[in-house]
Structure formats: structure tokens, C-alpha cells
């Protein structure tokens, strides 16, 4: 068995997973027909994904619903067995789920809780302490830290069912990280939380990452999670890795180029503004438009020359727009995985 060099925390090579699913026509007749004669077909959820993560690295894992994010995380944590390719996490083969491996990882899945519903969260922590064989001193120290960073004071002795969603998620995170895992798989850790709560979860993950040099893979619907925590982004679409790089170069990927914002002294018509770039918008004397990356200075000069401009700024497009465009493009073949607005499904 070849173990990866010590500077690789997660190594994924050509990872694949396919499922058999059954399909039915809508309505009662469709149900009756499918009851007797079930049609099924093979779906490739993950089609050969490869990447390496260094220890201590935090990556954002993005893609529309059904792109294969959760499937990949489940394979990396050992819950699902790959149908092809290899994965090594912290030097182990995940599918074997050996005890030393399990003690080094954690998987947080949005609403699937491991806390005992009718007991205070503290009881669940004690169970995890025993199961992960955490020494008492370490347990106390970790609890002190977590209580402080997450603000758990006063909620640990309440029954879990009586906690608010946000309080529950905090306890969930604490329970999942009590054994100080080296590799964290966080699947939608902030889903359904209010803005303050999202911020404190982010702060906690950042703090944990720095303190323990832990490797973190994070999926989220909220771009803010990703931009706040991850420097590196992996984008998966229709089971394939379509981007691997830092946030800035993801923005460069977008053909839309940069976004120019204008503060005007004189109103202008949309038709006139549209001659200078794409996707123009006007709101009173504020206006904005996109220009190709290579022509930013030329177009800006023309705008300044032609119009009565009070102020002009050039910025990278918001990441949401980049994602929308990215998935808008290579979309034709995988139309079934798009639901609702693309921007909303960035994750």
C-alpha cells in the first residue's frame, strides 16, 4: 500500500460513483404501471474527480443541486463506496472505516443530527467523549474553548428539542468536533440559520482550522460562507470537476469580465449605456455594466470621455454572477439537475 506524502491530507484520483434509479410517470396510472413494471436506468453521480488537499487547507466545494457534492463527501467519509477510482483521507482508505480513520474525521450534514433529541446536549457530548475515547483533560479543555467561541453557555443543559435551530446547530458542530478531527467535511453547516448565527458558525470553523491545522471541505448555499472561509474553490458540475483554483481566478473564468460602476451627473438612457458594454443597469444617476476583461481600460476611458461621470469604479463580478454564468454555459446536457434559479442553487 502506497501512502501519500505527509503533505497531502486528502488525495482523490478519478473518483467515480453510479447509481440505479427508477422512474415513473406522474398520476395514478403512472403509479400503477410502475408498480408492475419498473423502469430504471444508471445515473453517474460522480464521473472521475481528482484533486489533492494539503493539511490545514480550507476549500469551498461548489456546484448546483445534484452535481455530486454530497455523494463525493460521503465517499470521502466512507459512507459510500466508490464504483471507481481511489480516495485517501488522512492516510486511510475511507471505505474501510477503520477506527483510527474515524477518529480523525468528522462529517456534518445540515439537518441530520447526532444529538439525542430528548436529552440535554451535554449528554450527547459525554457519549461522544466515551466513544472517541477522549481523555478527560482534553475533553474539558475542548469544551471550554467551544463554549467560549460558540457561546454555548446556558444552552448545554437544556433538552435538545427545546433549543432553537441555531442553538442546535452550534451544539451539533461542537459534538462533531469534540474529538478534534484533522479532516472536516461540512455539508451545508449554515443552512437555515439567520445571518448572525451564520457568522458565528463561520468564525468557529475559521478558529478551529487555525488552531488545529485541520483540513476543511465545505459546501454551502451561502456564498458568504465560502468567500469568508475558503481560499481555494472546487466547482463540480454534472459529476465532473470543472474548476479548481482560488476565488480570484474563478472570477477571471467568467467571460463577462469586470463590472464597471458609474456615478453620473446627467441621466442617460439604457440604450445609450448599452453601447459601452453588456448587462447594463440604470437606477437614477447610478449605473453599472459589464465589459470584457481585456478592454477594461479602453472602455473606461471612452466612458469618461463621452459621459459626464462623477465617479467610476471597476470591480470583479460578484461570485454569484460568476457561478450563474458558469453553470448557465455547460448546462444543455444536464438540464434535469437545474431547479429554480441558478444563482440560488450555487452550492
Amino acid at each position: 500500500m502506497i501512502s501519500p506524502p505527509p503533505d497531502v491530507a486528502v488525495q482523490v484520483r478519478d473518483l467515480r460513483k453510479s447509481y440505479t434509479v427508477h422512474e415513473k410517470d406522474p398520476g395514478l396510472m403512472g403509479s400503477v404501471r410502475s408498480f408492475f413494471n419498473r423502469r430504471s436506468h444508471e445515473v453517474e453521480a460522480v464521473k472521475g474527480v481528482s484533486f489533492d488537499l494539503a493539511p490545514g487547507e480550507v476549500v469551498g466545494f461548489l456546484g448546483p443541486n445534484g452535481a455530486g457534492k454530497t455523494t463525493t463527501l460521503k465517499m470521502l467519509s466512507g459512507l459510500l463506496h466508490p464504483t471507481g477510482g481511489t480516495a485517501r483521507v488522512a492516510g486511510f482508505e475511507p471505505r474501510k472505516r477503520e477506527t483510527p480513520f474515524l477518529k480523525q474525521i468528522t462529517l456534518v450534514m445540515g439537518q441530520k443530527q447526532q444529538l439525542i433529541w430528548d436529552l440535554p446536549a451535554l449528554d450527547s457530548f459525554l457519549v461522544n467523549q466515551a466513544i472517541y475515547e477522549i481523555p478527560e483533560a482534553q475533553y474539558q479543555a475542548t469544551m471550554r474553548e467551544f463554549t467560549e467561541v460558540l457561546g454555548l453557555e446556558g444552552i448545554l443543559k437544556k433538552q435538545v428539542r427545546k433549543l432553537s435551530l441555531g442553538e442546535r446547530m452550534k451544539c451539533e458542530l461542537a459534538a462533531a468536533l469534540l474529538h478534534r478531527p484533522r479532516v472536516l467535511f461540512l455539508d451545508e453547516p449554515t443552512i437555515g440559520l439567520d445571518v448572525n448565527m451564520q457568522e458565528s458558525v463561520r468564525a468557529f470553523v475559521r478558529d478551529y482550522n487555525q488552531r488545529f491545522e485541520a483540513t476543511v471541505i465545505l459546501t454551502s448555499h451561502y456564498m458568504a460562507d465560502v468567500t469568508a472561509l475558503a481560499r481555494r474553490i472546487l466547482v463540480i458540475d454534472a459529476g465532473q470537476l470543472v474548476f479548481d483554483g482560488d476565488l480570484a481566478s474563478l472570477a477571471e473564468q467568467s467571460s463577462g469580465g469586470k463590472r464597471v460602476r458609474l456615478q453620473l451627473r446627467q441621466p442617460i438612457s439604457l440604450a445609450d449605456l448599452s453601447r459601452y458594454g453588456n448587462d447594463a443597469r440604470i437606477d437614477g444617476l447610478s449605473a453599472e455594466l459589464s465589459v470584457p476583461r481585456s478592454e477594461v481600460s479602453a472602455r473606461a476611458a471612452r466612458l469618461l470621455a463621452d459621459l459626464d461621470v462623477a465617479d467610476l469604479t471597476v470591480e470583479d463580478p460578484p461570485i454569484e454572477a460568476v457561478m450563474a454564468e458558469l453553470f448557465g454555459a455547460g448546462r444543455e446536457k444536464a438540464a434535469e439537475s437545474v431547479t429554480g434559479s441558478v444563482a440560488a442553487s450555487v452550492a
Binding site: G78, L79, A130, Y132
Partner: protein, 267 residues
């Protein structure tokens, strides 16, 4: 203390706290398992109507003793793990448990044991009340109760393991709990829930002695009712140990194969 015992102790005390939260539900579950009591009442009626007031040497009071004892033992043998597993596999809540470095079975096992301890005092009160109402008489020899405890621990563990194996069928089918109900019927029939085993046709008795059922339910009940000897208890315990070995292997096999299946398809 070994690490394993330490883990089990913590699991147990947590589960015990959880079960005391559910004490009202436990009482309701206890009262819903009435088959022994119904059979007791019918047999008592039959004995009272029979010439000489006896059927096969059992008077109304004997029936009361036997069936109350089966009710008591049956309560200690209650296992619901198949339902839990079915639920956990369907809801996907088994997944987080698989990522912990401990076989999830121990969580379920400690939960069952904790529930029994919460159940026990309530049972004692109810069984005393019923015994007084129905005129049952129980053995007063303490060795009998030691033997009953041994048989019940063995029998409960055997049943837990077979129910666990049935529950794991949830990896393959949505009907695992129905299999469980059919197996329960065999357990109830051959265990002696409908009548003492001696009341069954000879050929049924011949089959029953090869199964674990009479030794985990009927035998302890007969001991309590004063209708079986300690020697029979010893023999019964040996049979149960044999079945225990069988079901440990079966459970392990189904678990391994099931995990492979779960890993292939997911939840």
C-alpha cells in the same frame, strides 16, 4: 475498567436518562402487550367451566400463575430494535453513527437494557396487583429467581440479536418490520404465550424443543409458577448459549453484507 466497558457504561447511563424521559410511553407500551393476560382470562374461564375445575391438571389459579409469569418474562424480553433500525436506515440517521468508532449495536443494546430497568419496578407493581386479583401463586425459592434471571438475560440477548439481524434487512427491503412480526408469531406460539407448551400437539412440541423459544419464555414462566425444576433450567440455559453463538454469527454476517450494500447504494 477496559475502554469498552467505559464506553458501555456511559452509553448506558445516557440511555437510562433518556428512558426515564419516556416513562409514560413505557407504561403504555407495557399495557398494550396484553396477549398473555387475555389468554390467561380465557383459560381461567375454561378451567372454571371444566368438570373438576381443571384442564390437564391446571386449575384456574395455575393458569393465572403461568400466564402472569409469561407476561412478566415477556415484558423483560421485549425488543424493538428492528423498528429502530428500519427507521434509522430510511431516515439516514444511521450514517452519522457509522462514522463513530463504535459498532452502533452497542448503543441500541444499552438502550434496551436501560429501558428494562425503568420498566422493572412498574412491572413488579402491576404483576403483584394482577396476581392478587387473579389468585396466582409464585415460587418462593430464591434460587428459582436466580435461574430465571440467567435465562432471561440469555433469552433477551438471543432475541435482541435475531431482531437486530431482521432489522438490518432494511438495507434490502422496506418490509423488514413485517418479517419481524411473523417471527414474533412463531416466538409467541412456541414460547408458550397461547398456552403452556404441554397443551400443544405432540408434533409441535417435538419441533419446539429444537428452537430457543420455549427456553426463553415458557421455561422461566414455568419456573416462577413452580412447574419446572432447576435442572430443566440448566439444560435450557445450555440450549440458549448454543443459540446465542449462532445468532452472534448471523448478526455479524448480515451486518457485514448489509454495510457493503449500504456503501454501494447509500441512503
Amino acid at each position: 475498567m477496559t475502554p469498552f466497558l467505559r464506553k458501555f457504561r456511559i452509553l448506558f447511563s445516557t440511555q437510562f436518562a433518556l428512558m426515564t424521559e419516556y416513562r409514560a410511553e413505557i407504561v403504555i407500551w407495557m399495557l398494550s402487550g396484553t396477549l398473555s393476560l387475555i389468554m390467561m382470562l380465557v383459560w381461567m374461564g375454561q378451567a372454571a367451566a371444566a368438570p373438576g375445575g381443571q384442564i390437564r391438571g391446571f386449575s384456574a389459579s395455575d393458569f393465572a400463575s403461568y400466564f402472569l409469569a409469561t407476561w412478566f418474562v415477556g415484558q423483560l424480553l421485549v425488543v424493538w430494535v428492528a423498528w429502530e433500525l428500519d427507521f434509522e436506515v430510511r431516515q439516514g440517521t444511521l450514517s452519522p453513527k457509522l462514522l463513530r468508532p463504535l459498532d452502533p449495536m452497542w448503543g441500541h443494546y444499552s438502550g434496551h437494557v436501560a429501558e428494562k430497568i425503568v420498566r422493572f419496578p412498574i412491572m413488579l407493581v402491576l404483576v403483584s396487583l394482577f396476581a392478587w386479583l387473579a389468585g396466582a401463586r409464585f415460587s418462593l425459592d430464591w434460587r428459582v429467581y436466580a435461574a430465571v434471571l440467567g435465562l432471561v438475560v440469555l433469552g433477551f440477548t438471543v432475541r435482541f440479536l435475531w431482531e437486530y439481524s431482521l432489522g438490518l434487512l432494511a438495507f434490502w427491503t422496506e418490509s423488514s418490520t413485517s418479517f419481524q412480526e411473523v417471527v414474533w408469531l412463531v416466538y409467541a406460539a412456541l414460547g408458550g404465550l397461547f398456552a403452556p407448551l404441554a397443551f400443544y400437539p405432540q408434533w409441535v412440541q417435538n419441533i419446539a424443543v429444537w428452537t430457543p423459544f420455549p427456553y426463553m419464555l415458557g421455561l422461566p414462566a414455568n419456573l416462577i409458577a413452580g412447574k419446572a425444576t432447576l435442572e430443566q433450567a440448566g439444560q435450557g440455559a445450555l440450549v440458549l448459549v448454543g443459540w446465542l453463538a449462532v445468532f452472534i454469527l448471523v448478526r455479524l454476517m448480515v451486518w457485514r453484507v448489509g454495510l457493503k450494500k449500504y456503501g454501494a447504494v447509500g441512503a
